[in-house]
Symmetry: D2
Subunit: 367 residues, 4 copies
């Protein structure tokens, strides 16, 4: 049991605060012989990195990853690293922390933040930022996820922002290739939504406010058979790991909450014989998981990210003495933290599937 670890065979432990010297993770249980470059990791980190548009926090963090253990350089190609099966330690230095921004709130509990609950739980808190609850912690998840993607042969994981506040994409326009397009600061799959989101979020941002979002993540190439019937369901672990992302308030698999509103006829995915003797599913309302076990169809999950409560509008609160105060959070914050949650959600999905891949192989030997 661990408060700062997830996964069982592919296991990620993270450490570090927003305003300490560095953040990092240890990936334990990675299979030996996985080949990757530092650039593979960095590329994913760069997608999550702050300061890349006016729509995300202006904190300037290069987020350069150092790989400290668990790999050997390949003799023929010095850039190529090979995992040895021992723990892989990765570290990212904090460069642009500005603790002084937080001076005002050292004694005050920001409404909607963990300030109050930290203090009640631990008897003290690191007031110089969000401590472990800072979105900064998620950078190392992305690094771990970049490695996880390599563990399962043929696995492809992508994510998209599907709504921001009251604005929703048009799924008819879905274009995966557009997600990482340089003109798309939102990870939206709907090119037509960019202008809408930009206009909407500019207004939110300019009045010092913030807004929530919903993210969809999809894994293709997931082998059939990952997961288990009850307490190690693949969908359960996906949801647990997505819920562990800061600010996430809800998660669903496949048609999710929609399943609560329809009938058995409408909900069940029918099957027909496929070209190679394997069954094909005529729909994927289940989101690639039946009875907790992967079907071979794409695994589809969605999660809701709340608006950050670090806003400029004064909110009623109390301070450590119990006195009533108004709180305004200056600092530098994302007007929509949901945007940068896209690569984070992808990383958590990748880690979950890598873990279940190894678990399934361990118990059954059927991979």
């Amino acid at each position: 049991m661990s408060h700062n670890t997830f996964g069982h065979l592919f296991r990620v432990t993270t450490w570090g605060e927003s305003h300490g010297a560095a953040i990092g993770c240890v990936v334990d249980g990675c299979p030996p012989g996985i080949r990757f470059t530092r650039a593979d990791i960095q590329a994913e980190l760069d997608r999550r990195r702050p300061g890349q548009s006016r729509f995300v926090t202006q904190r300037r963090e290069p987020d350069q990853v150092k790989i400290l253990s668990g790999v050997l350089p390949e003799e023929e190609d010095g850039d190529m690293l090979v995992t040895t099966g021992t723990p892989i330690s990765m570290l990212i230095e904090n460069v642009d922390q500005r603790s002084k921004d937080y001076g005002d709130i050292a004694q005050r509990y920001r409404p909607g933040h963990a300030d109050y609950t930290y203090e009640m739980k631990y008897g003290l808190r690191d007031y110089r930022g969000g401590g472990r609850s800072s979105a900064r912690e998620t950078a190392v998840r992305v690094a771990a996820g970049a490695l996880a993607r390599k563990v399962v042969p043929g696995l492809k994981i992508r994510g998209a922002l599907v709504s921001m506040g009251e604005k929703v994409i048009d799924r008819a326009n879905w274009d995966w290739d557009f997600i990482d397009h340089p003109d798309n600061p939102f990870f939206t799959p709907d090119p037509k939504s960019v202008a809408v989101f930009a206009d909407y979020l500019d207004r939110i941002r300019k009045r010092g406010s913030s807004v929530g979002a919903v993210i969809e993540v999809v894994a293709e190439g997931v082998p059939i058979g990952l997961g288990a019937p009850v307490y190690a369901k693949l969908d359960q672990d996906i949801c647990a790991n997505l819920m562990s992302i800061n600010a996430v308030k809800g998660v669903e698999i496949g048609n999710g909450f929609e399943a609560g509103r329809i009938t058995g006829e409408e909900n069940a995915d029918e099957m027909r014989a496929g070209p190679d003797g394997k069954p094909v599913f005529l729909s994927n309302k289940a989101g690639g998981v039946l009875g907790g076990i992967s079907t071979g169809e794409p695994v589809v999950a969605r999660f809701a990210v709340k608006p950050t409560s670090s806003i400029l509008t004064p909110r009623k609160s109390v301070d450590k003495t119990g006195a009533e105060v108004d709180v305004t959070t200056k600092g530098r914050h994302d007007p929509c933290v949901g945007i940068r949650a896209v690569p984070i959600g992808e990383a958590m999905l990748a880690c979950t599937i890598a873990d279940h891949y190894l678990r399934h192989r361990g118990q059954t030997g059927r991979i």
Copy 2:
């Protein structure tokens, strides 16, 4: 790591299939000195028991629990048991299994069921019912949950069905006392909804169909400080444990997916000084959890239950040889499995909170 265990310090392992001799659980890590009677456990089991109205499966299972270990009878009061701190084994015999009902589907994969994924994962499956995916497995969770309720002093856990298919309760009519009323076969908190649900579900049932539902569970009296900032968030573990219930497709905490649609001003729960110097929250959109840690406000979660795919309408599928077939499930099934999910959801919430209570006490000693 275990596929059939949940919890860390208050730890529940379950075993048993729908059509074997018995089902059971082992509750490990329960504090010593907890006093309870067998009737306390049985009362919760009776709430989940099938066959109590025309709206649930007609399988007749008395669900009498046997307590085999981990307790001592109190000298003064033979009905009163005291936990000794060692594992508590509870067992429920299967009485009314009718495997012959399943003869037809031994060779066929029911659409929307785990038949296909079990076979792919394990290379064989127990065709005589849902195996571990049967709702029958959940009985022992309810038994464990009855014990978990005793672990945290002052803890009160309740649940309610808040929608069935397209029918939604009116929250203005919410009456907790009505939930267990004998005229309420739905665990609905809205007395006016009974006639609506009854009429709706009768139509569903008569045509051999099924329908989904949404359940809300609420824990009051949760101490401040349970949970942790990242991978042991209280809300994360609640969602994971609710997702482990068969047929659940989505979970949310507090305002949940709504948080993805609103602004920071709308979302943050403001605080004021309370009468005893402790802050009071002016709202509870967070659902009792901030930064993964309990605030002392009621913990509120919701989960969506899909309609069972065991329906009389023929659905397209394939059999083990790959041939295309139509599948109709006879057996005896719940037209809305969401109804009986109410005490199950309560049990999972109770177990999660009991576990985090012990974990918080272990790390911090602050209880």
Copy 3:
């Protein structure tokens, strides 16, 4: 984490007290498709069963195992069971508990027993026997071990008593076939030692005393590569699991404590090229484990079992009120609990290797 579970992928949870209704275990994570009969399990239980000679406790327990879940009967052969990959629950009823034997010691702490520490830890204890510390608990380990032996193809596990009190076997006489010979009530591999042990133990037994022993367990057919370099060493987990057996006070691998007395030249096992290109080891002082990882040589471990403190000689102690008392334990006890520890040690070794087999397969896929 669990106080009553061992193993990670092949995972055994046990429950039950010496004087309750039954004892049992849940084996989780067993691979699907393992074929065995109830008689395979029973045969191992019969080796550990009490009452089979004058040298072991006269408690009469048939120790008939019931298998309640996780298996399907094979269609062609009803005695043959096949694991389904779901948890296997096994149960043994307690038949011959005589709690009245323990009336005298309900208020007194037996020296050398856990009476005092239980009471201090939990605030109460099950005085009707040893509670969880009774040797009775070990029966279900043997049942789990019988299953574990089937998990690793080609695995052969055997054990032997190598010394009893001051009497030591002559290794020159070692004969594995003699261990289960009907004229051998001691699991000794040295036929000439039987008369010595019998005479020695008769004298111990008749004066109401008890004596310690040392057991050696050996696993052949262990694949190369099981274990890990640091905190999941194969030898570490073997020692931990052997130490979990009641009354065990020391454990060693290979030459064990002898390694502390010799030089590097004497200790290192040299290697030469073998007939099939694989290296052969010229000795096995390492006991089949180098750097925590199996070498393919036989895995050899030894453990010391203390004499039971349930003896007829009065010993100084105190009672619950703190008053000084003399304690004599009547009950029925093993004059040398080490004898029946042989099949228990084998079982723990089997479970440890089965677990590491699955873990190695999970991480590396190299089996």
Copy 4:
């Protein structure tokens, strides 16, 4: 489950190889509010540090620890750090790695080393040193142990070398104060043994050989009640954690293997009423643990450390191609690795007790 983590509530994950950039650990689950200085950690590291006498490896490593997360500086005293309850990451840079020393053995398996088993398990290995099996990994255990010592109020942990090869200390001369005396390069508690050990080890060292040792570690001030009856015995976890130290081949608690040679009368520790109404034990053969649970007496454990197989005498082996070779290990090695194992054993004992302290508090609340 994790291959590179130990502990459950006080949980230590280590990473890093002998010849990489750095080694480190993450301590998770540490209670908040623990006060310590970097010097507290460094002092323990300095006791284990190589290069301090001619009797240990001449590798020059300053072993300066960096603390990267999980602490706040105290306002009044900048040297004093306070734990926040979040993971504490500690890092030590590798300074004096000389990989070229290992060029010769990249293709050869050193007898008695993990070279062969690593290659078989993972399919590749880090030939530039012992990889994870290097004694270097243990430095971070010592850092974690220094923190663990602070977790349990009143805990005092000490260790001593009690034999080296065939030379054994005289327990009549035992003097704890002499252990860290500057004239004592052996952590021996017997001042008269220094000259004997020095002479003996000089001869071993000069002929390029090595020798084993036995270490005793003792914990005083351990609260009564830590541990559990079966699979979380305090002595089991102590033995497991000591066995995880490189080169350890055997472990024992209290009188250990001696218990296998004596009678029940001789073995049981009798009790009498103590001055404050609490019982006192008249002896401590149990080593402070009865039935897996601490008695309040000193916890005493011993472990045997094998001689390093990195010796100058040529030994028979094979290379990666299967060809027969003679292997001589140059590098810089400890003639008796058991010496520096003293602070490592202390650290493992401290971590184990800290973990069980939190576990006991979690389950029972009785601390």
